[in-house]
Symmetry: C2
Subunit: 103 residues, 2 copies
């Protein structure tokens, strides 16, 4: 893969995670969702910071203690380590493409 | 700024560099070009790796010793530390938006 919008299978039963760069202290990955979201009441609680940009599609990120954020193409945000969050919604029947930088 | 395609001035006499994340060993920046390119025969020779994705527009990256690469939206590449390169061309009269991760 050398294009962030390429190599997306026709069928996507699960979210697709593709690691593009990985070394000590840094991981860059492309994530593709197609209507997928986090299980209800299940929160990500990560040991590292995650800077994430939505490049295509649409999504809602939810937090346990503050308002949800709707992301459209180009939007980015920082999820600091241990900031609990979940993907509440991604647009159905379309690919939502994320670029996530974990550090 | 919270959108990679936002906050672009109407006039852009120089390329625009916006640092989004900076800490020891990592810098994430948004770069906007509008027909800008590197000075002739001037090569970038960086101490860090640069993973770069083109998100909008079109560009050509040139190297001293291998063929140039044309980038369209979604294309990404890794410029390893001290891999000499230059931006040979960006599409005129349009914004070319890059996301660069230096590490």
């Amino acid at each position: 893969m050398n294009n962030l919008f390429g190599d997306i299978p026709a069928s996507l039963p699960e979210e697709l995670f593709s690691v593009l760069v990985e070394q000590e202290g840094l991981k860059i990955e492309r994530i593709v969702s197609r209507g997928h979201c986090s299980p209800a009441d299940e929160w990500y609680d990560q040991d590292t910071h995650e800077w994430v940009a939505l490049l295509k599609g649409k999504a809602v990120i939810a937090y346990p203690d503050k308002p949800s954020v709707t992301l459209v193409p180009g939007d980015y945000l920082l999820l600091t380590a241990h900031e609990r969050h979940r993907v509440d919604w991604t647009i159905p029947d379309e690919d939502t493409v994320w670029l996530a930088i974990h550090y």
